[in-house]
Symmetry: C2
Subunit: 450 residues, 2 copies
């Protein structure tokens, strides 16, 4: 039994919905279908979710919402027309949006969340209508009906444990079950949406709840690539990677989807298959808790920029019990979260995302580290890119570091810092942002071309 | 003006003292001479300091001290005889030891410290007698007279700031000034000894206090070597290294002297020259605050074993603000000090010295990390050796990491972890203890043989 999730671009038009229908129909084990709101049909297009946010925001400040409301309805109407679905479903959607506009504005975050959720919700109804019209028995199931309960945090809802038990009962339902992604209900019956990657999260929760054999995540690329295709030409497709590898790659810039969305599936031990709605015969990428060992140590290389380093030097630092802890405490109290802390004997480097820093915060930090901790030298460096070389099999392959550092050195790229914990699932190199693309290309060539 | 310090093996016999005299005599700028107690004359010999500790301990529990007392006096007597110094100095030493034995036992740590200090103190008197007899004007100066005040911590005394000002006045003294190493006086007039490397500490304090141009530290090796001569055959001698490099090398097993002993000289910006009493024309090794850039990126390679790693894995760890700080806090409360913390996205490795761990402590730690911090996996690994590749010029030499990791990989040595902060003064590799010597040899050959 499979859970299938379709993203916004897979559901942006009637043409796309026809592909989705074929995909669901051709495999009878595809029982649970989680859907997004209609996405972009072209680069210049707008996502329905963005239109809904705009509409809700305007309504909250009592601006005229009529033009944007018409735009939203036109998107559904255009799909219904392409699929020859008749006007009933559009009347229903129109009715729903009118009710939302007239809703309770005293709690703006819930007002907004109800709007956001309607994108997925109305699309799920439309898709159920279409599937049934095509002769495939399908039921739209509202998350409240499914018992998909979440915490009371609009825009950042967390699933409640009982949701999994409730969802399991959906297995009994006849035919295809169509569930809108992106939101659940609080115990008091309010809609609360998930964070980024919301429909992916719903799919993963449903996959865990119904104890699916596979969670198929349909998007608009054939696979996850071994390196960013915008930098490296025709990078290799990754056939299989583990959750851990996926996490490490996602961290440094792989944006096929938000990796944390997979957490519920990961917890349930359910494999995820990334597939392309526009090319469903392509194998795609499978993400599994574990995978067989291969002789390819590295599965992918990612990079991300916008990092800074705080270098702290103090003579006899390593004899001072609690020094590192105190540094981290100062950062925490200043609201700064950090990524890595490579160290020498008398020095410690803290790597963190630059967007957290301001000139004022930096000055405060330098003064705190010097005055409170007695650091001799504190310097802050910006424009650092982190290169992540990722692969579970690095553990068993002597020579990966040698290959990687040789590739960088041959290309005259200075390694500012290196970090490799004993998990050996990734190696991190800090380089100057100016060297980022050159470094990615050099590393890709070292590990993926012969 | 120079401060010259001689270690125990340089002062173990009359023959050695003659060398010392020649060294001091031939350079009129060698004004301040800091001396240790007589050390070993051969591998099987005993150090006077060890005999004194034994004597004090026996005396404290009212055992017969006569045999050991005679042994101690015999050591000085043998030197005096070799140098034909007459019996007066030996009578004085005997008198001093008898007084020590009759001393106040109510504070055993001070009783012990007074004994320990007498090794250096009596030797200084003997040496002053000898120098004067040879026609070199020399005065024995007691640390109390010199104003070398320290904290009230027997066996771990710290110099008080005013000591430096007091010592500066010694510049006015005529002739050579001979100061016993290893101890100072508390403000209430009690003797308090330094920790390990005590005479080196006195030398560094005096060098700082008198604002010496150079601190010459005479020992029994020609130089500091680029790698451990017990493992690597005929390793290169290091001509010049910086304090920072010295620190990094000392940390991982270089034992020419205890590097922290140099701190007072380091603070005063005074260069240190390591020289060999038995081969004074050898250039030796100079330790300076900074040095000229060379095209040799690596100055030395050290290794040290007896480390363990605690591997902690938790899904979404890097989103959890305060996780690292909490880990370090748990370690701190358990009284564990750590060395490095390389990390991945969802994992953190803590490297620490194994001798701090017991089966019970490990079990407690694993349970704390799992229960209090919700770690998914916690594993502890023992028998790790840390290899330190050290050199300030690595900063400017692209390719050092590549060279080092290639050397390890070619020799089939798996790198368990890597750590290189942005100081780039050292690179740390964690390897299995079984690979330690092989790794040291491989790294030495990569950087020092052509």
């Amino acid at each position: 039994m499979k859970v299938v999730k379709f993203g916004g671009s897979s559901l942006a038009s009637g043409v796309q919905l026809k592909k989705v229908f074929q995909i669901v129909k051709e495999d009878p084990t595809r029982k649970f279908v989680v859907v997004s709101a209609p996405g972009k049909r072209s680069k210049a297009d707008e996502k329905v979710t963005d239109l809904l946010i705009d509409c809700a925001t305007k309504s909250l400040i009592n601006e005229d919402v009529q033009p944007i409301l018409e735009k939203i309805i036109a998107r559904y109407a255009s799909i219904a027309e392409e699929l020859d679905l008749g006007s009933e479903i559009i009347t229903e959607i129109k009715q729903n949006l009118t009710e939302l506009i007239a809703g309770d504005k005293t709690q703006p975050e819930y007002y907004l969340d109800a709007f956001k959720a309607s994108g997925e919700n109305n699309n799920a109804k439309l898709i159920a209508t279409y599937f049934n019209r095509e002769g495939l028995k399908a039921s739209y199931v509202n998350p409240l009906e499914a018992g998909l309960f979440v915490t009371d945090e609009p825009g950042n809802a967390q699933v409640l444990p009982e949701a999994y038990t409730n969802l399991y009962n959906l297995r009994e339902k006849d035919g295809i079950v169509i569930i809108p992604g992106f939101f659940g209900y609080t115990k008091s019956g309010k809609i609360s949406t998930f964070s980024r990657g919301g429909s992916d999260i719903t799919g993963a929760i449903v996959a865990n709840g119904v104890k699916a054999d596979l969670y198929e995540n349909f998007t608009d690329v054939d696979a996850i690539y071994a390196a960013n295709p915008n930098v490296v030409k025709d990078p290799a497709e990754i056939v299989n990677l583990t959750y851990k590898e996926m996490r490490e790659l996602s961290y440094a810039g792989f944006s096929v989807f938000h990796d944390e969305a997979l957490y519920p599936a990961f917890r349930g031990g359910i494999p995820v298959q990334i597939k392309n709605t526009n090319n469903p015969t392509a194998e795609g990428t499978r993400i599994t808790p574990e995978r067989k060992q291969t002789n390819q140590a590295v599965v992918g290389i990612a990079s991300s920029n916008g990092f800074s380093s705080i270098y702290i030097e103090k003579y006899l630092m390593n004899r001072e019990i609690g020094f590192g802890r105190k540094v981290l405490e100062i950062l925490e109290l200043d609201g700064l979260s950090y990524e890595h802390t490579p160290s020498g004997i008398d020095d410690l480097t803290v790597i963190l995302r630059s967007d957290q820093l301001t000139k004022e915060k930096e000055a405060k930090l330098v003064s705190q580290l010097k005055n409170e901790l007695g650091a001799d030298i504190v310097t802050i460096q910006h424009h650092i890119a982190l290169m992540m070389v990722v692969g579970e099999d690095m553990r068993c392959n002597i020579g990966t570091m040698s290959k990687a550092s040789e590739a960088l050195s041959k290309n005259n790229i200075n390694i500012e810092m290196i970090n490799q914990g004993s998990s050996e699932v990734s190696m991190m190199f800090g380089v100057s942002e100016a060297d980022e693309e050159k470094a990615l290309t050099a590393l890709y060539e070292a590990f993926f071309t012969k």
